[in-house]
Amino acid sequence: MTRPRLQLPPHGLFDWAAGEAPARRKGNIEVIGVPSDFGNAYVSGARLGPAAIRASSLGLPQPAAGGIDRGDVEVFDDADWAQIIERVRAAVVDTAEAGALPLVLGGDHAVSYAAVAALDQAGPLDIVWFDAHTDFCPLTDTGWHNHKQVLRRIAGLGHVGRMLVIGHRGLTYFDETQQWANLDVIGGGPLPESWLRSERPLYVSVDIDSLDPCIAPGTGHPVPGGLGLPALCDMLRTLARERRVMGADVMEVNPLLDHGEMTSLAAATALAALLDGMAARSPAAHRTFEGA
């Protein structure tokens, strides 16, 4: 398979090296940026998220786990949305097949579908989805991916097991908690014990709108009354320490709506917490597909 061409960023996430994957990749964390907001018809700007998160990460201490930043999937070469989804999927497959762990920077949340779809060899795979919304809108009338129903699409992937949405709140059209037999929805912590005691691999997706808009205003669909950053970081650290994280992403950072880089900094801080948790877990237990 031809390795997807990625565009190099000016600097890597957390100032990690940016560029081609090294010869030995097993257990590496590999950053893949997706500067696309095709999945959000309401407000654009999440395409600027990867660059903003990288820039904010430079001001933070290096997390305990290291990695490499492979750059951004090409988006604005006149490609259509379906091609971009496929490019993301191919980039994540390339990472996963080498035994490395994808860390995807969005972009709008629809991008997460491609990342989860690419991890089909790791299944059954559980999903923890930090989000103010359930992202489970009906699929009627849409033959394309969008950020409002991305988790519903993910639920339909054959290798996806249980799903947990954390941070759901506010006003919705109906009670969204009863959507799918394998879907649990909670407003906030603590993490359900059953979600910490499983040998299944885990994918962690962080929509930055899970945070309170006072902390993370730079996102397209803020909902008041959200999580605090310490609470989010605690949960990410715990999940990564207790579960075998096979991939992760942070999505929906929109610098056009941000205030003083608060949101991109919160996103980088959350990623650092996740990486700290992964480093605290036995490397052999979480960094490869072995035993999946």
Binding site: G170, L171, E176, L257, H259
Partner: protein, 387 residues
Amino acid sequence: MSVTAASIATSKAIGEALVLSPWMEVEHLDETTATIYLSSDGTRIRVPLPLHRLLLKFRAPAVPSEVAGAGSGAAKALDQLRKKGFLVPADAVPARNGRQVTDPPVRLFDAPAQKLAPARADVVVLGVPWDFGEAGAAGARRGPLAIRDISLQLLYRLDRESGRPIGWYDADRRRAILAGVTIADAGDIIVHHGEGRSAVFERIRDVLDALTGEGALPVLLGGDSSVAYPLIDQRRQNGALDVIRIGRPAASTGAMARSRQLLALPGVERYAQVVPVGFGADHGDDPEGYMRVPIDAALEHALVPQLGEGRRVHVGIDVDALAHAGDSRPSFAYRQVHALLCRLGRAHRIASVDLCGINPWAPCWGAVSMTAVHLLLTALSAAKDPA
């Protein structure tokens, strides 16, 4: 065939001289049809071109039967236009003193438009693009338009079969809200260049009189918080009213004077200013009936007992006082205001609501406005389906 009262009235109407309404305007005209409307209240109709030409013959007073022939189809069509207000009696032409409201490009929650007539909806919305009342509110005149745009993320929808509003679901309270509660949007009050406050506020009162004749609960979108004055003035005329303002304490002499002016209005008995934690309680020189209550105390015990139970209240929310990123001033957390509104709804009868200080030029507008929309729906739920 019996002669009905309606047919007598129609015959009589056809026999009198009529003239074009001074509000009649043309929106579209082609080879076959014309779309005409009344700029006074937004009534629109598409008519065949010949009927439009016939209508124009009433630029000067004329009798319909003489213009169209008694009993003809054209005469009946003209009578329909008379009933809709496009033709008015020649001896009773209303003075044209300018439009009172405009049609916004989008409506709050995409709810139906409301003409300038008594609303049959349970809730009627009126925007007031006015920000001359407070120095810090510059830009808030764009608030009504901007909040409507944001509100489209939470659409008002009707059940396909019953035609009744579906309402929304409050995930925090785990309950449906506003199911069956109808909402209509009457647009924005017109504010002319250079027009004085008294004229604009008088227009607000007149429009509210027209809209609330059937009992609809008015919601006013500001604008700065001064625009609540004509709403409260209008509401207190229907019965004793307490004012509950959720915002920072008045910072200008004008704002301070307004609370005194409101308390001086007959029927306004109490004015409770709920302030963020960090502001003190009452000053010694506050007027009788005025109370200042920090929101934590309001939630704990103070506000409701001080007001008493079952009061008729106006609730105002200053969006500018909601917590947002980068604002170090004392402000309200969303969950505080949400809880207070729910409590007010259980304890009192909410007669009107204003959402003021909506300013799209303020920092973090997207986040603040979404918080404001959530709180507005919570306030409406507190008014219409408290639980």
